[in-house]
């Protein structure tokens, strides 16, 4: 995802063993739930965080780390892009597989399409 220059960002990647989306949290521990991600607000801090992410790649923990823009409020971290929201939550069509980040309550999934 294209990252914006300003505003809160986090780092996500796929866990090598099972391919699941994970989010870089405190003490370089990769988290399943996006709420536990470390948020950075500057390009400099993002670069520092990305160095840690790349170290995890070298340790065969994760693959393909990247930064994404988020909005946060209290404990809730919500990706700005719908792709990242689906990725952090689970397939919009299968609520039974959803993880439970705080922003889940805001989503209209599985779909708000008219029937």
């Amino acid at each position: 995802m294209a990252k914006k220059k300003e505003g809160p960002q986090i780092i996500s990647a796929h866990r090598l063993r099972d391919g699941r989306p994970v989010f870089l949290g405190k003490d370089v521990i990769w988290q399943d739930i996006i709420d536990n991600a470390v948020i950075v607000h500057s390009e400099k801090d993002l670069e520092t965080l990305m160095v840690e992410a790349k170290n995890s790649v070298e340790k065969q923990e994760v693959v393909e780390p990247y930064a994404l823009s988020v909005t946060h409020e209290g404990n809730m971290i919500r990706p700005d892009h719908y792709r990242e929201r689906i990725r952090a939550l689970g397939p919009s069509i299968l609520p039974e597989f959803h993880l439970q980040p705080s922003f889940a309550a805001l989503e209209s999934h599985p779909t708000h399409l008219p029937e």
Binding site: D18, R20, V63, D80, I86, L113
Partner: protein, 551 residues
């Protein structure tokens, strides 16, 4: 069905062992992701939005009951209890762990299955008409030829690093049910003026961001020459296909840029040059493979139309199902049955492990233990006695597998879209579900008649939107999902690429837009016209007016 010989078994076993070692080295760090990625792709392993994905080949869409039961077991043991059939007659598992995939592949190898060449720049799984061998309109069963091509193309050393992926599809009937004109090579068995059967060879079809229909490169090719001729095409493509730009690397671009006449002369020259050294397929080997596809032990039966009519009158649901999901069989007293994997509001192509087991059991109880997979993401039981259709129907009803919509508006092709796919720009499954609910009533669907909606969640067009009578392409516009509507596409011998009808629609508008198109057709159709006929007669003007008049 074809059965592996010792060579096939050893080949698949070795490949599985090789990949087990590659996964081990990846997990240990001996292989980097950059080194591992091309290796996993050649074994059908992708990394998608939520997890790895394993794509398993189902050669020419033919499965034994034992194989389907194994797929059910794999879904249950190593995935989340279901699988997804694709537009290339493959099955995908959406949640495997990388460390489990070697065990999954070993398990597949035990039932003569694998994931080789289901991804990567190689010759992919050969697809075919799902009614092969049983279709009433069949000229010759294409399955032996599909199998011969499968064997020739599997790990062909010269064609392991092609400019791009390469897809072959084959039909032996007077109706194309395999979408051969949107494949890199489409093969149609046909009879010439002398009564000989050979191949019409078409080349350069494909969808994606540059949709093109295949053009005929050889009008009639003797069957015995199929492998050297395919080899000649592949050599020309391998040599001249563009490698500077992946979006221009498919053979359709080579055909377009070179012109079919020049390409034909290149292929024919290559063909002449290699003929001398190419060992013809021995007739004994052709016969050996054909013997795997001989007809099962049918009983001498008569057609049962009177009985079926009576049962249909007594049970409306059965009557509707019979009308949509039963196809004529070449053997009197038998029928071909399509099992719709498009329940109303369901996910197109998805099937639970329990349903897989059930269908496998049905294929043994009512047929000869064989199941077909269609490129339209449904299953087929090819050999059902007509006098047992009602019993079969009731069994299917009990498992939610009797939706009477084959070929109708709710029989929608949909790619996984952004709910799973890392490449997608929008979701496609929720649109299919909402459309299915909107047109839920089967009587209304039958009134609308044959109408194919095909939905892709990105420009790569895995959901075949270019050849949908109504095609829907999901795109991103300013951070929101939008859907572009195209009309008039078709995937048969009279194929056409759909035409974009106008500005795209937002997610909450697209279902209404499709309904407007359908209502316009219903208002304008003449007797017996299906949607495509009306569109071809009138063009897109009335549909445009109806869709955008208020804007």
């Amino acid at each position: 069905m074809y059965q592996y010989d010792g060579f096939d078994q050893e080949f698949v076993r070795q490949r599985s062992a090789q990949f087990r070692d590659q996964v081990k080295r990846r997990l240990s760090g001996a292989l980097s992701e950059a080194e591992f990625k091309p290796l996993r792709l050649m074994n059908g392993v992708y990394l998608e939005l939520h997890a790895y994905l394993l794509r398993v080949a189902i050669p020419y869409g033919t499965l034994s009951s034992q194989q389907l039961k194994r797929l059910a077991m794999i879904g249950r043991k190593w995935d989340r209890g279901y699988g997804h059939f694709t537009t290339r007659q493959n099955i995908q598992f959406n949640w495997p762990k990388l460390e489990d995939i070697p065990d999954m592949l070993d398990s597949l190898a035990e039932v003569e299955m694998h994931a080789i060449q289901t991804s990567g720049a190689c010759i992919r799984n050969v697809t075919a008409d799902q009614f092969s061998g049983v279709a009433k309109d069949e000229i010759e069963d294409p399955r032996p030829w599909a199998e011969i091509i499968r064997q020739w193309s599997s790990l062909h050393p010269e064609f392991t690093f092609l400019p791009r992926k390469f897809k072959v599809s084959i039909t032996g009937s007077s109706e194309d049910r395999a979408a051969i004109k949107v494949h890199d090579i489409g093969l149609a068995l046909k009879k010439n003026d002398h009564g000989d059967i050979g191949f019409e060879v078409m080349v350069g079809g494909g969808q994606g961001r540059t949709p093109m229909l295949a053009q005929t490169i050889r009008d009639f090719l003797p069957k015995s020459e199929i492998l050297p001729y395919l080899e000649a095409i592949m050599r020309v493509y391998n040599q001249f296909g563009r490698r500077d730009n992946k979006y221009k690397a498919r053979i359709k671009i080579l055909v377009h840029e070179t012109g079919i006449e020049k390409l034909r002369s290149l292929v024919e020259a290559e063909y002449e040059a290699l003929r001398a050294s190419f060992i013809d397929l021995p007739q004994a080997e052709v016969s050996r493979i054909q013997n795997f596809f001989t007809a099962p032990p049918y009983q001498n039966l008569e057609d049962q139309e009177a009985l079926l009519n009576q049962q249909a009158q007594q049970n409306t649901g059965f009557g509707q199902w019979l009308q949509a999901n039963r196809t004529g069989h070449k053997q009197p007293g038998y029928a071909v049955v399509t099992i719709s994997l498009k329940p109303i509001g369901g996910i197109p192509g998805d099937i639970s492990s329990d349903q897989m087991d059930y269908v496998a059991d049905l294929s043994e109880r009512y047929g000869f233990g064989e199941i077909r997979v269609t490129h339209e993401q449904n299953l087929v039981l090819p050999d059902i006695r007509q006098d047992q259709l009602f019993d079969l129907y009731q069994d299917l009803v009990s498992q939610g597998l009797a939706t009477a919509n084959a070929g109708l508006i709710s029989d929608i092709i949909s790619c996984p879209g952004m709910d799973y796919c890392a490449l997608a720009t929008a979701r496609s499954i929720p649109i299919a579900q909402a459309l299915s609910r909107r047109f839920e009533d089967i009587t209304s669907q039958q009134n609308i008649g044959p109408l194919k909606i095909k939905i892709s969640g990105c420009i790569n067009a895995c959901g075949h939107h270019h050849v949908g009578h109504i095609g829907i392409l999901g795109l991103e516009r300013k951070g929101e999902e939008h859907y572009q509507l195209s009309l008039g596409g078709h995937a048969g011998f009279e194929a056409s690429i759909g035409k974009i009808v106008g500005p795209s629609f937002k997610e909450h508008q697209i279902v209404d837009a499709v309904e407007t198109v359908v209502q316009t057709y219903l208002d304008l159709r003449t007797e017996d016209e299906i949607f495509l006929d009306t569109y071809r007669r009138l063009g897109d003007t009335p549909f445009k007016e109806a869709l955008y008049a208020a804007a």
